[in-house]
């Protein structure tokens, strides 16, 4: 068994003199950046970086708040566009703490010369996504920068949601014995973006899985009071989400490769490019850790929702071995391997 990784003097965000693309990948470098540079200075004693949304208590009500910037390239891709992503992504971050989305804000940074026609398409797509998610955009901001000073269009959305009493979902609540559930096939969004980029011409269309997950989460919460963790498996893929939960809860996680659903074309493209589907981004997939006795009920509730038709139990939570929060997978051929968090950058500007 390998030794537990520790933060050596060389490793970490401070060892780089400049910001690298990997610092925005959702993987290890980004975690180091947050833990070593942002959190100590800006977050104070707040530990909300554990979860996809922060919780604020106001007059006895708990509000979920989250913000996200979207820089996806290209702006339009099979299955979605930057506008749809900007709404769904933020709605999903609220849902991952059990929050019911109330409202969003939207801020646009546009490049001089950006076609108005494309902007109209993005706005129409955001409107449609907002209707699907049952939220309104209540305020916004517009900035235009000189040509060449940003790439076409970036969008930031902030979301506010309400968390009902009794709901207690957090990354540090996984316990040995709990089961791990996923709402469907993985890795489609990342491969859709990759295939939409000019440098790789796949003949088979791959569609992004971008979708709002708030209704699925609502159904799951009605089915069980023992949903311990929820996590949106976006950048860094399922592997990073699993590792984040294992680290936050100080537990080990075992998953079974034959329980993971991956579309054939997605699997094929990953094999050709040497990408691990577990590291490829999703935009409509959640990971849920549930007490074992409630897992069948939650699974049934997920499968009854259109966003969870292909849901499955993919593994279980175990005690951490030698105090190391290790995620391991039994492969299809029966061997075991580590499932590590994505290191560095797999694909910049995925969302």
């Amino acid at each position: 068994m390998q030794r537990a990784p520790v933060k050596g003097s060389r490793s970490g965000a401070m060892s780089h003199k400049k910001v690298l693309l990997g610092h925005g990948s959702g993987g290890k470098l980004m975690h180091e950046l947050i833990e070593q540079i942002f959190a100590p200075e800006l977050l104070g004693s707040c530990r909300t970086q554990l979860n996809d949304s922060a919780l604020m208590e106001i007059n006895g009500s708990r509000l979920a708040v989250t913000t996200d910037s979207y820089v996806v390239d290209p702006l339009f891709f099979p299955g979605g566009d930057i506008g749809k992503l900007a709404v769904n992504g933020t709605v999903n971050d609220l849902s991952m703490v059990g929050g019911r989305p109330l409202a969003l804000t939207a801020a646009f940074i546009l490049e001089e010369g950006f076609p108005m026609e494309d902007l109209l398409k993005i706005v129409a797509s955001m409107k449609e996504a907002c209707e699907m998610a049952g939220v309104n955009i209540i305020t916004g901001d517009t900035k235009v920068v000189n040509r060449g000073k940003c790439d076409k269009s970036f969008i930031n959305t902030t979301g506010v949601g309400i968390v009902e009493p009794g709901v207690d979902i957090s990354a540090d609540r996984a316990r040995p014995g709990d089961l791990v559930l996923v709402n469907g096939d993985i890795a489609a969004h990342g491969m859709a973006i990759l295939s939409a980029r000019q440098e790789l011409d796949f003949e088979v269309p791959i569609y992004s899985d971008t979708q709002p997950l708030h209704l699925l989460v609502a159904d799951m919460l009605s089915a069980s009071e023992q949903i311990h963790c929820l996590r949106d498996a976006t950048r860094g893929g399922l592997a990073s989400a699993l590792n984040e939960l294992a680290i936050a809860s100080a537990v080990g996680i075992r998953i079974y490769e034959d329980q993971l659903a991956i579309q054939d074309e997605v699997k094929g493209c990953c094999e050709i490019l040497g990408l691990d589907p577990l590291h490829v981004a999703n935009e409509g997939k959640l990971l849920s850790i549930v007490a074992a006795e409630d897992a069948p009920t939650v699974l049934a509730a997920m499968r009854a929702n259109t966003a969870g038709r292909q849901a499955s139990i993919i593994g279980e939570v175990v005690e951490a071995q030698a105090q190391r929060p290790l995620v391991v997978m039994k492969t299809t051929v029966g061997g075991w391997r580590i499932v590590d968090m994505l290191a560095g950058e797999q694909l910049p500007r995925i969302c």
């Binding site: 390998q2 050596g8 970490g12 029966g334």
Partner: protein
């Protein structure tokens, strides 16, 4: 014999059939149980290590069978001065195009990634033809910093022969595997009883290329593919040869690899390249181990076109940790990442000390990512 091992099971598109895996596993265990001593097999390919680690194959093998990775990562054995040459070119204002892993491999002071952050134009490409396309679209010099073994070198050769524009040139760090097997076999600290040869390289060179090695060193060689069944079938064939005390070449990758190999590719390869001696990082001087452009293609040889005096280090950034790195011994098969004090501690994929932790084909990177030999109690 090889046919029996590999024939029927290979009809499936995916070579991961659990029943056939179980049968091969049983066969290997029985063979190993009959010998009283441990058996050591070396493979010389990062893709084999990827496959072994990614599918957890070592946890399926008996404890007596030790499968070690040798100098099979072209990025890892790229010598420091070769990286420095690429950096010197990038700093002279040329576009340097290279594969993703070469981007991060450390030179004397910097990696190409760091030089790019300082303002040089370094591009990551997926293929030599993508580098050629860059040259066609660009007015300035485009240098393809080419790494890889004889398989990858063929694609580089094809680009050189495709009448590239005058602003295109190749900085070759291509390496040739057969000579290094001789070096490793002769190393005093290495105990290798059989070589698992890379099926894709042998598809180009033909498995016949290993006959000379086998007759000289009396060590069996079996070519193998990269799916789990391929690897296990090749290991079973090797263990059988070792147990029988038979030094021979066998082909456990018959669906791609033949004795004579891909003659058209070999013609391209040797038309453009010739082998010459050179240092492999962490290993030794390897006679005929480097592939360099022949003089008739010197106009496309970056070494003829640029001033390659390596830049003097601008700061003292040589890490004292580098002295503790055992990458050389790991690539020679003498030690494993588990023996390294730095592994997973000071040396991680985010801040690699040695080249083996940089490349996706490096032993340390692969072991860090997947666990090299994971035993999970079920």
């Amino acid at each position: 014999m090889t046919e029996n091992l590999t024939g029927a099971g290979f009809g499936r598109l995916e070579f991961r059939d659990p029943e056939r895996i179980a049968a091969l596993r049983k066969k290997i265990s029985q063979l190993c149980r009959n010998v009283k001593k441990p058996i050591s097999i070396m493979h010389v390919c990062g893709s084999h290590e990827q496959s072994i680690a990614r599918f957890g194959l070592r946890s399926l093998l008996p404890p007596e069978l030790n499968v070690i990775m040798g100098p099979g990562c072209p990025v890892c054995i790229t010598d420091v001065p070769e990286v420095d040459e690429a950096i010197a070119i990038a700093r002279q204002g040329a576009i340097v195009a290279t594969f993703g892993d070469m981007f991060r491999v450390p030179g004397s002071c910097f990696s190409l990634e760091q030089v790019k952050a300082q303002g040089a134009d370094v591009r990551v490409v997926y293929s030599p033809s993508e580098a050629l396309k860059l040259a066609l679209e660009s007015k300035g010099e485009v240098v393809f910093f080419a790494s890889g073994f004889e398989t990858t070198a063929v694609a580089t050769a094809a680009v050189v022969l495709a009448n590239p524009p005058a602003n295109f040139s190749v900085l070759s760090a291509h390496k040739y595997i057969p000579p290094v097997m001789e070096i490793v076999a002769e190393m005093p600290g290495t105990r290798v009883e059989g070589f698992l040869a890379a099926g894709h390289a042998a598809t180009i060179t033909g498995w016949g290329v290993f006959e000379r090695f086998v007759s000289r060193h009396k060590i069996p060689v079996v070519t193998g593919g990269f799916e789990p069944l391929d690897v296990l079938a090749a290991l079973a064939a090797l263990v059988e040869l070792v147990v029988a005390g038979e030094a021979a070449v066998e082909n456990a990758y018959p669906r791609c690899c033949t004795k004579e190999g891909n003659l058209a590719a070999q013609k391209l390869l040797w038309e453009v390249f010739e082998s010459e001696g050179g240092m492999w990082r962490g290993i030794a001087h390897v006679p005929n181990g480097n592939l360099r452009l022949r003089s008739r293609y010197r106009s496309f040889d970056s070494r003829q076109r640029f001033d390659l005096t390596p830049d003097l280090c601008q700061e003292d950034s040589l890490q004292p940790l580098t002295l503790e790195c055992i990458c050389g011994n790991i690539m020679a098969g003498i030690q494993s990442p588990k023996d390294c004090r730095l592994f997973g501690m000071e040396c991680t994929p985010q801040s690699p000390v040695g080249a083996c932790m940089v490349s996706a084909e490096g032993t340390c990177k692969i072991w860090h990512e997947y666990g090299g030999h994971l035993i999970i109690a079920e």
